[in-house]
Structures are given as C-alpha cells and as structure tokens.
Symmetry: C2
Subunit: 183 residues, 2 copies
C-alpha cells in the first residue's frame, strides 16, 4: 500500500503537498504488519520530509525504539520511502508483474468500484500484487487517480457521515480485503 | 462504546491510569459518527484529564473548531465523559435495558468469544444495546474485564502480529459489527 503526501488536495480543493504525520506511520505500519502487507510506501517528493521519516524509521529499527519496543520494529520493517506514486508502481513492477493499482477515496466518484466487486476482484487475483493507494489531507489529487486502475467506492457505515481519518480508512480497508482473500 | 483510561495495564502488566490522547478522541469520534454509534464514552476518573477533554470537546462543538470544521462538530457530539466503566453501564441502563457489555483485547483470553459467535450475537440482539469496551495503554485491567459479559477474541490478520493501535482496533471492530448488523 501507499500513503500519498503529494499530489493531494487541501480543504479548498487545491493541489498541495501535505506533511508526514508521525502517528500515521506508526498506526499504518502496525496495521500493515497485522495483515501481512508486503510494503507500506510513504510517498513524498520533499527531501527534508524524507529525512525526517528516515530518522523516525531508524529510531524504531536500530535506535532506542528497537530495544524499547521490538514489536514496533517488526512493523517499521514494512515502511519504505518513495518520491512519487509512479516510483512505487515501478518498484513493485520490478518484483512482480504490474500490480493492480486501486485508489481509495471518501468521495463517490462516477464509476467507482463497489465493495462487492472489490471482493470478486480480490478473490480472482489471489496471487497477484495489489497496490492500495491512500491520500492524506483531503484526498488524492486527480493526477494521482489517473495513475490507478480504479477507485474503490467510499467506506460507508450507514449514516452518510463520511469523514474518517486516513488511519481509520486504512485499518478498515485492509481488514476487509484480508477477509476477502481468506474467504 | 467506551475507551478506558483506568484501570488499564502498562507494558509491565501493572495497573495504571493512562493519559487521554487528543488524536484518539478525534479518530474514534469520527469512526463513531460513521457507524452511527449512539455515544463514545471517554472514561477517566482524573478530574484534570476530564477538564482537558472538555476544553477539546468545547473547541470543536462551540469554539473556532466548530466554524472551521462542522463535520468534526458532528463527530464530537458523540463524545461523553465518565469516571468509571460502572458509570457508563449505569448511564446506558437508564436509557435502555441493561446493555450487553463486550470487552476487546489483543490477548487471547480463555473463553473469549470468536468473531463468528459475535456475528450471531449481534444479529440476535439487533435491537438491544451493546457496549463495546476498549482499553488504552497495554489493555484493560482484569477489574474492568470482570464488569463485562464477555471478551471478544483478538482481531487477527493471519500473521500472528497482534499490536494494533486502539484507534485501528476500534475502526476495524465497528466496521465488522456494523456489517453483522446489516446482514
């Protein structure tokens, strides 16, 4: 999976680069380890932000964090840094066949893939790579969506309220897809 | 649902009172609004911590936060403060019949209720109150577990890695239970 910090939208719908959030990395790395995700790509083109993320990762992989909390180390082994979504896709394509790239969104895009269809797709592609793409801030910019093979319909809880944190959205999405895989 | 800050365990298994985490309230309030949870109880006996939480809640309900982000206001309407789990159960019992109180744990307790059985229980109790209890820090103290009607088996992702943040655990649990209710 990939967590995109650029290009994403702000609340006004403008293209921005969001800042890396320490807690996103922790929570999502732990979810990734729980569900056996191959890699969790943190995507930002800003070198200063990458340096910051590298320091956090090193703390938990080799620093005091690794001694204090070995479970967190296991989770942080999943975390990789890349400049762009294209780079992530290229990276994965060198390991397996071109992955099926699925974007997530809190917005109901025309032609979005229903969760019922995602279930079928996941079961049909059991041994193939799937790359799940999540946006920070107010979601993925269209430039990013264009690079994907489809957009999954929003997570709905039956209320119409549609403002989950990206941390919660990742947890729910991976739990659902993991269930589809095991069925 | 209730998020317990006392009595919970630290990493050494000792009884502690954990500090309220601002982001827990935000993430869990948003998940609660998504799935139409009646109330999200933040439980701590520490008055200073309750005052802090009240200031945060007021900011999003009436302060600058309410104007800046009305969606967050809707989520914060779910947040209530109580001193103890007993108080939460008493409160709910005054509104409906005594709720079915289910604890969650990352530990596989003897006699824990499997997710398959939770599905059956939720479907059988469609119109009854269920109170889901989550622990902060390293999980609920036995004193708390004793007040519940049962403990749900841990969330598993097929890897044996079992260290989700409470934010992720809440998101996944509510998504699963909401699915059971709708089936």
């Amino acid at each position: 999976m990939a967590l995109i910090h650029y290009p994403v939208l702000n609340r006004q719908g403008e293209k921005i680069c969001s800042a890396i959030t320490n807690l996103d990395i922790h929570d999502i790395a732990r979810v990734s380890a729980t569900y056996g995700i191959e890699a969790f790509f943190v995507v930002t083109p800003l070198k200063e932000q990458q340096e910051l993320a590298k320091r956090v990762i090193a703390h938990w992989l080799k620093g005091a964090g690794a001694r204090f909390n070995p479970d967190r180390k296991e989770a942080f082994l999943k975390v990789k840094l890349e400049d762009t979504l294209s780079d992530v896709i290229k990276k994965i394509s060198s390991d397996c066949v071109h992955p099926l790239v699925l974007a997530t969104s809190a917005r109901r895009w025309k032609g979005c893939i229903s969760w019922e269809d995602i279930e079928k797709i996941v079961q049909k592609n059991e041994n193939e790579c799937i790359l799940l793409v999540f946006g920070t801030a107010s979601g993925l910019h269209e430039e990013c969506l264009k690079e994907t093979d489809g957009i999954i319909c929003p997570i709905e809880g039956g209320t119409g309220y549609n403002h989950l944190s990206v941390r919660s959205a990742v947890a729910i999405t991976l739990d659902r897809i993991s269930r589809f895989r095991r069925q």
